[in-house]
Symmetry: C2
Subunit: 195 residues, 2 copies
DNA sequence: CCCAGCATGTAACGGGTTACATGATTAG
DNA sequence: CTAATCATGTAACCCGTTACATGCTGGG
């Protein structure tokens, strides 16, 4: 289970509250791992009990107080151990592919709208990634852009480079999906309506 | 939840036992949806109770008897209804990406072996898909290859075309992953060992 | 004789999802 | 006044995973 470790990585990049983590999971971390606030609170509580994270009450004005979590020494050790262990390849889950194969037993043309909708969503996600890349990693060429967020406890250069390569993975994924959905649309249109 | 519908699609393509379904989920259907035999038996029992599938005892010689499941009329209706409903985009889960970002707080070079391992697995999966494509959908050009499996109750041409376009999606995915993992490897090597 | 394959299951555990709950402040 | 944002939580349910169990046949 990687949610624990995803949270550790996020807290190492920048300490924060459960609420803040939930928002990060809707954004940068969410590019490759999703979690709701319920899951996050549950895991934070468990990790606190195990001593992987430290908590600090932060009073705020104009807002509710919050608990700021940060990674403890033993949490860092746990992460390092996990990094050593091989993981098995993720099992794929493409509900849309189930639908596409299922369309042979319904009306292929009826799926066109749905596939177009997915294509649009991937297009938006791609635009979002590209905007983030431009903002955080400079226009095109060399480095030199200021860090958008305070770097965590690691080497700032490694942190940035690795965040960037993961983002490039997201970009490649969205491009691949868009191209494939075009292929799917052409196929559905060629098949036409139910006999 | 799509496991129900993935099973319905597989049974429409060809009726079979829980055991046979489990093997298909390790192969063709498993390209985009995974399931273990325990899940499959559980769902088959539920769908039988709901009347989505019919069961037929098939005595065999030299092997244990089996229960052959096939989709009932109401199962087909349920599938058609599900095809109409929009689904939300799959939430991404890339454990390897968590590790890559986590490597900034450990030793980036130590991840190289693991990433190479994943690259090899994707290469094998790609080879497997390409072999399947050559076998089932002809060398390169036009159609004309004999169906490798008896077609289900739909239009055979639509069934084949849609299976092929899903397979092309798998192929595109593996190619994208291999290219991205090369990018990751180059990045990790550039960063070198822990300071 | 033992292992691999065929075939079907039960049990337990943990994670993910959805719904519900509370309470404060600020902006429209 | 109402809605949105910040902030933390409980409860229930289902799904996915892992381990265990049974029994038969054929091949090395």
């Amino acid at each position: 289970m990687a949610l624990d470790h995803a949270i550790l990585v996020s807290l190492l990049e920048k300490p924060g509250s459960g609420y803040e983590l939930a928002r990060r999971f809707d954004r940068s971390i969410g590019y490759f791992w999703t979690a709701t606030h319920q899951q996050i609170y549950r895991v934070l509580k468990r990790m606190e009990a195990e001593g992987w994270v430290d908590v600090r009450d932060v009073p705020q004005q104009g807002r509710p107080d919050k608990k700021e979590y940060s990674v403890s020494a033993s949490g860092l050790t746990a992460l390092a151990e996990w990094l050593q262990k091989p993981i098995q390849p993720e099992s794929v889950r493409h509900e849309l592919a189930v639908k596409i194969r299922g369309a042979a037993f319904g009306d292929p043309a009826a799926l066109v709208g749905e596939v177009e909708r997915h294509r649009r969503m991937h297009q938006e996600q791609l635009a979002h990634y590209l905007a983030g890349e431009r903002r955080d990693f400079g226009g095109s060429g060399a480095a030199g852009a200021p860090e958008p967020e305070a770097p965590g406890s690691g080497r700032p250069d490694a942190e940035r480079e690795l965040q960037h390569v993961v983002l490039r993975g997201g970009i490649a994924y969205e491009r691949m999906m868009i191209a494939w959905l075009d292929d799917v649309l052409a196929t559905l249109r060629r098949l036409g309506p139910r006999r």
